[in-house]
């Protein structure tokens, strides 16, 4: 029925778009929360924020699983034909690393929490298993790891977003618009 519409073949599925923005916004929020809560003096508020951060991080992990499953079973649309090879490789490498970090960052947080002796109880209801025994030194090491992975993630997200904006405003291609359908429509309207 829809085979005549090129977008259904070349565009992202609604699910892919939804997961992209849901996870993207959640990561930015959880990242900011992580930086903020870390600086607070100990208080009930701080303990609350730590738990919220952990719940959000575990939720992101689960959505990332869903997203990876979707990605493997639904090929994304091709990159624009005229894109130089190095840009294709860079884009691909960034995407692979972003997927890896979507798992590695929450995993490191979870392991850190176990090692520090503060287990994770998802939404205050579901206790996650502790893969590690309490070990304060290991906990401190994993905290450094969580931080390092997070700053790597932040760098990649900035690169990723910067590249998307470059495609949109300098190259004026459809790269950003096909992940942002609303933008796509208005842009098409202007152009054609």
């Amino acid at each position: 029925m829809n085979s005549a519409i090129p977008h259904s073949q070349t565009g992202y599925t609604h699910t892919a778009i939804g997961l992209h923005w849901l996870i993207g916004i959640a990561i930015v929020g959880t990242f900011a929360l992580g930086l903020y809560m870390h600086e607070l003096p100990l208080s009930p508020q701080k303990l609350k924020l730590y738990s919220w951060h952990k719940w959000a991080g575990v939720t992101i992990f689960l959505f990332a699983l869903l997203r990876l499953t979707w990605r493997v079973s639904h090929r994304p649309p091709a990159l624009p034909a005229g894109m130089p090879g190095w840009q294709r490789s860079a884009a691909e490498a960034t995407h692979v690393l972003l997927y890896l970090l979507m798992f590695a960052v929450p995993l490191s947080g979870w392991l850190m929490s176990s090692a520090k002796g503060f287990p994770t109880v998802w939404f205050g209801v579901l206790p996650l298993p502790d893969l590690l025994q309490k070990d304060t030194d290991l906990g401190d090491l994993l905290q450094q790891m969580h931080k390092l992975l997070n700053f790597t993630l932040a760098g990649l997200v900035a690169t990723h977003a910067g590249a998307a904006l470059k495609h949109h405003f300098l190259d004026r291609d459809e790269i950003l618009a096909r992940m942002l359908p609303f933008l796509g429509r208005s842009k098409n309207g202007e152009r054609k």
């Binding site: 100990l42 009930p44 303990l47 609350k48 520090k116 002796g117 503060f118 205050g124 209801v125």
Partner: protein, 190 residues
């Protein structure tokens, strides 16, 4: 069954009788004793313990109701799970260890419950507040040692532990699960 029951009873008497006659456990063994607790913050169970505490015990299994027990905890020796938590818990809102360095329990009665279990009741004093407290204790004798195991729930608000911003139980729960093990060996021959 008919034949075995008296036999078992006799064996039990033979095994326990000599011990019950002669032994009184009075020499507290700190190295073998422990005092641990679990508190919940945001419904997350966190393990803690005290490192410095001491007990004065006198327990004769044949006269359990005459047993005496006194227990002191140096509150500054708390490990509440992390360095931040330890600093916080020593402060005014929690134990206020500068003003109240020691918590003390003095047993006032011991009631046998059978099966080497006893109900120990007494007065618990923390942070200037004294409350009645009772706990089941299981006694295990092994050689010249007796081990006293017990667990109980203490409500922190009863002693004003965690005042001010911490008074609300939404973050740190009121109930603190406490688990203790005290070991005492038999008195040297008198």
């Amino acid at each position: 069954m008919k034949f075995r029951l008296p036999g078992l009873a006799l064996a039990a008497i033979l095994i326990t009788a000599p011990a019950a006659q002669a032994v009184e456990f009075t020499q507290y063994q700190h190295g073998k004793s422990s005092l641990a607790f679990v508190y919940k913050q945001m419904n997350v169970p966190v393990d803690g313990q005290f490192k410095s505490f001491r007990a004065r015990l006198a327990f004769d299994p044949s006269k359990p109701t005459a047993a005496r027990a006194e227990f002191e905890i140096d509150l500054a020796s708390v490990d509440a799970g992390s360095k931040d938590a330890n600093d916080e818990v020593a402060g005014k809102a929690w134990f206020d260890t500068k003003a109240f360095p020691v918590a003390r329990f003095v047993a006032t009665s011991v009631k046998p419950l059978g099966n080497n279990r006893y109900e120990v009741a007494g007065k618990m004093s923390i942070k200037g507040k004294t409350q009645d407290l009772s706990t089941p204790v299981t006694v295990t004798q092994q050689g010249s040692n007796a081990t006293f195991d017990g667990s109980l729930v203490l409500k922190r608000a009863d002693y004003g532990i965690g005042d001010g911003i911490w008074a609300d139980f939404g973050t740190v729960a009121n109930e603190i699960q406490i688990k203790f093990r005290l070991v005492a060996s038999a008195a040297a021959a008198k």
